[in-house]
């Protein structure tokens, strides 16, 4: 998500503010999608999935390869290939997410917190190296034929421009988030996921297959991360085996900021971090954007240790 050159300091024009808003929200909604995966796994297991950034990265690669394969097969209509590539990336990452749970988490569920943390960091290194060694050490380009037309198509939104690429990001993230909220809040399956998150023993006394539901939570979070990966790959134009690191860290920060374990909190945290970064890039300097994002995190945690929408300990019966 590139940022335009720093304007002179001084009052921000209305049009500039709108532009910051659009760019910041686009960036933030991607963070939010990734943050949802952190928060769901934490919500259900009470553990942080440190391999989540790599699941995101695998989604990036999967989308690019799917588009490449479809392109060489002569399938070029972006309206078909892009959604298909995103879906494929989501499915593949979901598979990796389930594998991650199986290998790095399941056996360690009752163990000390440091054990799954270490195994997840191990998993993250393994996945990075796997992609580095089996795919490439170097950078991979996102197919220009797909991204370019979307980046060049623009609509005027009052004084500012919205690119089709940004519109795709907004539409996709919005649809996925609504889908997730609906699933978690309105369906039987969502009730079961929340039941497992609250009391695993009681959930199994209701006949719920706890292992499967936990794996499902990993799959869901991973699929969302892959969708985010596909969109970031498209926006940035290049990707590499370590592309998941920074965004994973930021999305993790977003989840903490919003209150880890809380689904609307992850969305809120993602949007705040995204907006902060763009605001910093415009008003100060692009190099400072990470500093301010993390400064906000520290400030919020100082005032509200459980995050913006996090529950107080007393609320957890």
């Amino acid at each position: 998500m590139q940022t335009p050159p720093n304007p002179d300091s001084g009052a921000l024009l209305f049009s500039q503010m709108l532009e910051i808003l659009i760019n910041g929200l686009a960036r933030g909604s991607v963070y939010a999608l990734v943050a949802l995966g952190y928060t769901m796994v934490y919500g259900i297991l009470g553990m942080i999935n440190f391999a989540h950034g790599e699941i995101f990265m695998i989604g990036m690669f999967a989308a690019v390869f799917a588009l490449g394969a479809m392109g060489s097969a002569g399938l070029v209509a972006v309206g078909i290939t892009l959604p298909l590539a995103i879906l494929l990336a989501m499915a593949l990452s979901a598979g990796f997410g389930v594998m991650n749970e199986r290998i790095a988490y399941r056996k360690l569920r009752g163990a000390h917190l440091l054990a799954p943390l270490t195994s997840a960091i191990g998993m993250s290194i393994v996945l990075q190296n796997f992609v580095m060694l089996s795919v490439t050490k170097g950078k991979v380009d996102f197919p220009r034929a797909v991204a370019q037309p979307l980046a060049n198509t623009t609509w005027s939104l009052g004084p500012v421009q919205l690119t089709a690429l940004q519109a795709v990001i907004f539409a996709t993230t919005f649809a996925l988030m609504c889908g997730l909220f609906w699933l978690v809040q309105r369906t039987r399956l969502g009730i079961a996921l929340r039941a497992v998150a609250q009391d695993r023993t009681m959930a199994s006394l209701c006949g719920m297959k706890v292992d499967r539901l936990i794996a499902f939570a990993f799959a869901l979070g991973s699929a969302l991360a892959a969708a985010a990966g596909a969109m970031v790959a498209m926006y940035q134009g290049v990707l590499r085996f370590d592309s998941g690191y920074m965004i994973g860290l930021k999305a993790f920060t977003a989840a903490i900021l919003g209150g880890i374990g809380n689904i609307p909190g992850a969305v809120l945290g993602g949007l705040i971090i995204g907006l902060t970064e763009d605001l910093t890039s415009y008003t100060i300097k692009s190099e400072w954007k990470q500093t301010t994002a993390f400064a906000i995190l520290i400030l919020v945690l100082w005032l509200r240790p459980r995050g913006l929408l996090g529950e107080r300990v007393a609320d957890k019966v």
Partner: protein
């Protein structure tokens, strides 16, 4: 005499190297309310754990409708109608009353069963009034009712309850026990674990007394209620 619905035969189990249950046997027949009494740490919860499959057996077996189900998982036992309403109620505090009940239907209904919910609101009007409230906001008595209602959603052929009277005011306890009698009258056998021996014996057809992992007495409810020894040891009377 009616056939045994559930039989626990010489159950031995424990958590560490030492056994907590030393060969516990008990039987529940169709139509009965059976109560398992005993003080703190006697092994009552462990016995229910063995029956529902949460706690593994070291020796002995669980026989359900004539078949050995000792090796079966909790979910499989549930599906056959062996439903436990656990100690300390274990309401999902951050699910609504209605969602708690839907969680209880998990093992039976592949889809949301509206008719079942309607029946619950009729039977427990207070839960109907609070259906959108979070489970954690209910009073202790309401939570116990919700726990029982949730267990009923699993359509038990045998309802097992672990100390449903714990921590509740006497009036509420009476109400809970009345509900258990109604459930039994409607055809569901009940295995009731209690420390509140006096109340439990009044509604039970038969009773067992468990002390440090062994059955030390058994008899009909009225026999044990009349027994001086039981009154002294387990009813806290002189």
């Amino acid at each position: 005499m009616a056939d045994a619905l559930l039989r626990l035969e010489s159950a031995r189990t424990g958590y560490g190297p030492n056994d907590v249950l030393h060969g516990v046997s008990l039987t529940v027949r169709e139509g009965e309310i059976v109560t398992l009494l005993g003080g703190n740490g006697a092994g009552k919860t462990t016995t229910l754990g063995v029956l529902s499959g949460i706690v593994g057996l070291r020796q002995g077996k669980v026989v359900w409708e004539g078949r050995d189900i000792s090796g079966q998982a909790t979910a499989d036992r549930l599906r056959q109608g062996l439903v436990l309403c656990p100690e300390a109620r274990r309401i999902f505090a951050r699910l609504t009353v209605e969602e708690n009940l839907i969680a209880g239907t998990w093992v039976r209904d592949p889809k949301l069963n509206k008719a079942k919910l309607e029946k619950t609101w009729e039977r427990f009007p207070i839960l109907g009034q609070r259906r959108k409230q979070l489970g954690g906001t209910l009073s202790g008595g309401e939570q116990q009712m919700l726990a029982i209602a949730r267990a009923l959603m699993g359509e038990p052929k045998l309802l097992m309850l672990d100390e449903p009277s714990l921590g509740l005011a006497p009036l509420i306890v009476e109400q809970i026990f009345r509900i258990l009698v109604e459930i039994n009258a409607a055809g569901t056998p009940v295995l009731l674990v209690e420390q509140n021996a006096h109340q439990a014996l009044k509604i039970a057809h038969r009773a067992y007394v468990l002390a440090t992992g062994e059955i030390v007495r058994e008899g009909t409810g009225s026999e044990l209620l009349a027994s001086d020894e039981v009154r002294r040891a387990y009813l806290g009377e002189d």
